[in-house]
């Protein structure tokens, strides 16, 4: 009934616009169809329905101060590797809203982020199959120039089963942000810019456990500060969480915290960034029994660069360990100026990035088994052990030689502790060295060619899984061995493109598994519309967006996709 009411409301809105004034419609459509075959060499299976389809359409409407929106979703059934929380067909989002200069109210579904998201972030990524939107009410107030106050109250989207399925717990919270230079007119022109903010988020979930007394209300709160001075920036946020026994932390009664600090300096031609993060027991969900990517209230960014080339982005990526980690990242981008010997006619850009993550250092509670505190250990921010979770050192050089010819060369050294952020079955650390050469050439008739040549070499192990030299007796490549990718993309004109890619794990220790993965794609783009058809083998791998990853099994078959924006 509720659905019906909100829908009617929207429809009234739509009609109102066509009678009186136009209003503004925006939105988008995406539809992906797959027909998959069985392929025993790469371990691909054929789904029983043979055909798979993911579709959605968003429609947003604004008219003066009024707005509304809805999304239809269909998973008939979902495409290969898409999370099982997506099933059926129906309405997956709907909201109405009103906003003026002082107040902005949204009723229904909404996405929201407080500060850097350590306390609350409701967001979606449709490609990934992630959607933890809230359903309830949000109020934003701007009582004075430079002051923003937000309040949210709602249920989270847990799954889609021909309609929204809500999580068990309720989420409510508030956030205030003060832009000091805007509030005080006398500070407006000052070089130093200051923004301060604070947030409070609480969840309520009934305690139905018969053995434990579980906190039914769990709060997270914290503050943040942002400073800018000429080319320098410094941002930091710290949040802390009350006792929150859950499946994630094995039902311990520790409190949690998370902090992220970012510092940067940049001027034209040079950018430097340093980040540090410390997280402990900070998994925060509206349902304490859920795991994986379900009903997370907060967002703990992984301090790693999001790579674009397929071997480095999808074989051994890293996702934050919400139960605890200490991480660092640094990056430098420098462009050697045009007209210099090294810069050449167009300048040369150098990029150096490094990131690492470690296990926190914890002092176990010696009486954990006998005392009734439920506190398993003590730790403090940035107390780290020498147990490595992740290391990534990468560099790239981009150079445009002539108006029509450019090159990017990149190198990646990555170590992933696969016992912690497991992405494959291999035990222990997986080390890899990857080289990528990308070349682009634009022809006179406006067509263009782009190629990527990628080589990934993994470490060698012996029968005891110890890392050994590549030429040691009995050495074999770890996991699935070494990989190479060759990709050639030809853009015929502004509408048509074709590409062919082959991924080949030439270094698999089991010779029968050294498979080629050819993949052909034809694409047609006109304005905001894109139609693509692909056919071939896709290897199993991790598909990641913004540090959230999902496993996509190997497949062999046809994929058709259509996207359009309006």
């Amino acid at each position: 009934m509720k659905k019906l009411l909100s829908l009617s409301f929207l429809i009234i809105g739509f009609f109102a616009h066509s009678q009186l004034d136009r209003g503004n419609f925006t939105g988008n459509i995406e539809s992906i169809f797959q027909y998959l075959n069985k392929d025993s060499i790469i371990g691909a299976t054929q789904p029983t329905s043979k055909g798979l389809l993911n579709s959605y359409m968003n429609v947003y409407y604004t008219h003066g101060n009024f707005r509304g929106g809805l999304r239809f979703e269909s998973y008939l059934p979902r495409i290969q590797g898409y999370p099982t929380a997506f099933d059926g067909t129906g309405l997956g989002m709907r909201y109405v809203g009103y906003g003026n200069k002082f107040i902005d109210v949204t009723a229904g579904n909404f996405y929201e982020q407080f500060g850097s998201g350590l306390a609350l972030r409701a967001y979606e990524d449709r490609a990934l199959g992630y959607d933890n939107m809230l359903d309830g009410i949000r109020v934003k107030l701007t009582p004075y120039r430079g002051i923003t106050i937000k309040g949210v109250y709602g249920l989270q989207r847990l799954a889609f089963r021909s309609g929204i399925q809500h999580s068990n717990g309720t989420v409510r919270g508030g956030d205030a942000e003060f832009n000091i230079n805007d509030i005080f007119q006398s500070l407006q022109e000052k070089q130093l810019k200051v923004v301060v903010g604070g947030s409070f988020v609480s969840k309520f979930q009934e305690d139905t456990d018969e053995t434990l007394i579980l906190p039914q209300n769990v709060a997270t709160y914290g503050g943040r500060l942002g400073l800018r001075y000429k080319g320098f920036t410094l941002d930091g946020e710290y949040v802390t969480k009350g006792q929150d026994p859950s499946v994630d932390n094995n039902f311990i009664y520790n409190t949690g915290f998370a902090t992220v600090v970012n510092a940067g300096y940049s001027r034209k031609g040079l950018g430097i960034m340093l980040s540090a993060k410390s997280v402990d027991n900070m998994s925060f969900r509206s349902d304490r029994t859920k795991i994986m990517q379900d009903v997370l209230i907060n967002y703990l960014p992984a301090l790693t660069k999001t790579h674009t080339y397929n071997l480095v982005s999808s074989l051994y990526p890293y996702a934050t360990q919400p139960t605890g980690e200490i991480a660092f990242q640094g990056e430098i981008v420098y462009t050697i100026p045009k007209g210099t010997k090294l810069g050449g006619k167009y300048g040369t850009t150098l990029n150096l990035n490094a990131s690492t993550a470690f296990r926190p250092k914890r002092t176990p509670n010696p009486t954990f088994e006998t005392d009734s505190s439920g506190v398993a250990y003590t730790t403090r921010p940035f107390a780290m052990s020498d147990s490595l979770y992740w290391l990534d050192v990468n560099a790239s050089i981009s150079k445009k030689f002539t108006k029509n010819f450019n090159m990017i060369f990149s190198y990646y050294h990555i170590v992933l502790n696969n016992n912690v952020g497991a992405v494959t079955k291999q035990e222990g650390n997986i080390k890899s060295n990857t080289f990528v050469l990308e070349l682009g050439y634009k022809f006179k008739n406006r067509s263009s060619l782009r190629t990527e040549m990628q080589m990934m070499f993994v470490n060698r192990i012996n029968d005891n899984n110890d890392h050994v030299r590549w030429n040691a007796p009995g050495a074999k490549a770890t996991d699935n061995g070494d990989w190479a990718t060759l990709m050639v993309e030809y853009t015929i004109n502004s509408n048509w493109m074709v590409s062919i890619m082959d991924q080949y794990n030439f270094g698999h220790y089991d010779k029968s598994k050294r498979a080629h993965h050819p993949y052909f794609t034809v694409g047609y783009v006109t304005g905001p519309t894109r139609v693509m058809a692909s056919y071939g083998r896709q290897r199993a791998g991790m598909f990641c967006v913004g540090g959230v990853c999902r496993y996509v099994p190997a497949s062999n078959g046809l994929t058709l996709s259509v996207t359009h924006s309006f």
């Binding site: 019906l4 739509f14 066509s18 947003y60 800018r228 034209k268 980040s275 502004s494 996207t563 924006s565």
Partner: protein
């Protein structure tokens, strides 16, 4: 109950397509409050206040986006002189990669206005499926052209659209 729902849905879609016909091309920029790299708030509805604007959605992890914006960078001074156009590069990087935005933008020497859309609010409002997605907005604030994806040479299409705008 279900039948009623679907009838209503069908009606609403019809109403949408009807509305589309009416509004045609005079679609304006939705109002979303974003911050620039210096933390200054900007209402997207006011972007075209000082002449035509190119809005380009991008991310530090999106290779074709960077190809597009690096290509336009070499032409940007000429475009500004010829059309008085401003390019607004909207980064959809979230908290994971957001801090790399000023590093990349300044490291590359871009002269665009850069806005941060870390929770994709503006991206959603503009109906952007995936990046890169580029819009051309005239000085009245109306979207006159949009293009998804980037292939080398697409900047010439954008140039032609700006020529059309100028001759109108």
């Amino acid at each position: 109950m279900k039948r009623i729902l679907f009838t209503l849905i069908a009606i609403s879609i019809l109403s949408i397509s009807f509305g589309q016909e009416h509004s045609g091309k005079d679609k304006s920029i939705p109002s979303v409050v974003l911050k620039d790299m210096n933390g200054k708030t900007i209402n997207t509805a006011e972007l075209a206040a000082n002449g035509p604007v190119i809005i380009s959605f991008w991310a530090t992890w999106c290779a074709p986006c960077k190809r597009e914006l690096n290509t336009i960078q070499d032409l940007y001074t000429d475009w500004q002189e010829e059309f008085g156009v401003t390019l607004v590069a909207v980064s959809i990087d979230d908290e994971k990669t957001k801090n790399g935005v000023p590093t990349y933008v300044n490291g590359r020497g871009w002269e665009y206005i850069v806005l941060m859309d870390p929770n994709s609010d503006f991206r959603r409002a503009m109906g952007v499926n995936n990046v890169p997605h580029t819009f051309l907005i005239n000085k009245e604030g109306t979207i006159v052209y949009s293009h998804n994806n980037y292939a080398p040479g697409d900047e010439e299409l954008l140039y032609k659209e700006m020529l059309k705008l100028k001759s109108n």
